[in-house]
Amino acid sequence: MDRRLSRRGALALAAVGIVGCLGDSDSGPYDGNGESNATTTGGMETTPDDDAIADSPLPIRDGQLPVEYELKALREAVVRSVVPQDGIPAVDGPEFEPVDDVGDRIRDGDPVFGVRRGGEAKAYPQSILVHHEIVNDEIGGEPVAVTYCPLTGTAMGFERGDTTLGVSGHLLNSNLVMYDRADESYWPQMLATAIEGDLEAASLLEFPVVWTTWERWIEAYPDSTVLTEETGYARDYDGDPYGTYNPKTGYYGEDSDWMFDPLQADDSHPPKQVFLCSRPEDGPLAISLEALREHGVYGIDRAGHDYLAAYDPELEFGRLYRTEDADAFDYEDGAVIDPDGDRHDPTDLALEAVYAYDAMWFAWKGFYPSTTVHD
């Protein structure tokens, strides 16, 4: 990454000079304080248009996901046309190959995004998705979009029905803003709720995408298939424009600066520290992956019920469940011990699963300022 930074240093100096001439007082090296570019309101009050939902091929979630800003404030905070629409091209005709055919294309420690759904297991290398951000795929016969935003470190899956998702070229809170090609509504990935267009205030149906390493994924799912580099586009898939994850360098480094002002700035944690994040109806929560790894299980008390996060050592991934009494669970040698003393795989507890995904701290706190933090 250092090499990549240095080769652009000259461009940077030139650009700084020009922006300086324009008197752009907002530009300058990140000083760790950060500025917020939106103020929290009472949350989204807009409701979606039922007719638009009925006419849309996109599967829409029953009930809205929580959004902590009014949509107008979010639309005003969007950084528009960072690249042209589809300038980062989604993969619309993905091709896959068996794990055994991959060879040395993917190293053991390289990050991959895994999906197990409908009896099928598929892996999407981060090295490919960093250049495309969206793969319009079918898994288990169902049309889905597997999405990744490199700037917020979020990998999320969505049902897409008979349409496809594309990269709008806009960013909100550094996060990928997708657009659907049927209605051209705009969907920030982390919110999974449209902020603009006919479907505004409606929420997508999500499914979990596991962020793990190649070595761990193929050990867990040796029959998996993996996305090939035959994407229909010419890209240098050996290079990542933002840094590296194996090891973490550049933009992905925990203490590195964010690129775009977050909606709400908070320096209580390193900007890029990864949290297991969720936004259930009773309020968003973020659990430090580091703390979860250390404890194995992590209980969160909420009025009326608890949440239990469990660490899956096989995939190095966190799972979240809703339970009556999280304190009754324990963790031992990679297994969760239930109140009866029985051992369970952390991925398969007999509890209500709650959707959660990994995200960089600054991005999560920006979207969900009321989040509780557990570290």
């Binding site: 650009a15 990140y30 010419a234 424009p241 964010w258 690129m259 002002d261």
Partner: protein
């Protein structure tokens, strides 16, 4: 025809003549060529179209329907590559329009530096300030901004702002305009009426 129009026409004519001189001498042609090649590689490197990677092997891959793909924009002044070429010492993304832009800029940079070279080796005859050609380096650097904006921001280490994102698409045309401007400026210093290689300086 107004005086200013006449002066502009005369200056452009002088630019053409001075450029012809620069490409007729073997030494200045050599300087121009070497500079242009070096700049072209730097341009491709800065725009992520060329990555030095020893042991990259030798292979190439062409996308389906390359003619259509080549016209798709992926940035304000950047278009889709149609092939990935591993050339042993590095990987090249072949984007025909970007390559064309790079070659045009490289030619302008080479010509600028060739005129600056003539000013250095024959200062009395040409009367060109040595610093004039050096100005070519500035637009040359600016022109590298065709690479994607977030990456430039990453290097800058700054938060994005409306002003910055507005400026970025203009860096390439601005760089090209500066190159043409410096060429015209340098050409105006050449004593063309008496022949650029006359013994007396023009001024």
């Amino acid at each position: 025809m107004t005086d200013s129009t006449a002066r502009l026409r005369r200056r452009l004519h002088e630019t053409v003549l001075a450029s012809r001189v620069a490409v007729r001498r073997a030494d200045s042609v050599g300087v121009a060529f070497a500079t242009a090649i070096a700049y072209l590689f730097g341009f491709l490197w800065a725009t992520n179209s060329f990555t030095v990677r020893f042991g990259a092997g030798f292979s190439w891959r062409l996308v389906d329907d390359p003619f259509t793909r080549a016209l798709e924009r992926r940035g304000p002044t950047s278009f889709e590559p149609i092939a990935v070429v591993d050339a042993g010492f590095g990987t090249v993304l072949l984007a025909p329009i970007d390559l064309g832009i790079g070659i045009a800029l490289s030619a302008l940079v080479g010509l600028n530096v060739a005129l600056a070279y003539l000013a250095l080796v024959q200062p009395a005859s040409c009367g060109i300030g040595a610093g004039a050609g050096a100005a070519a380096a500035v637009p040359a650097l600016l022109s590298g901004s065709v690479c994607c904006a977030p990456v430039v921001l990453l290097v800058l280490g700054i938060q994005a702002s409306g002003a910055l994102l507005t400026v970025l698409p203009w860096l390439l045309p601005l760089g090209a305009a500066l190159l043409v401007g410096s060429l015209v400026y340098v050409a105006g210093k050449v004593g063309l009426e008496r022949g650029p290689m006359d013994s007396e300086p023009n001024r």
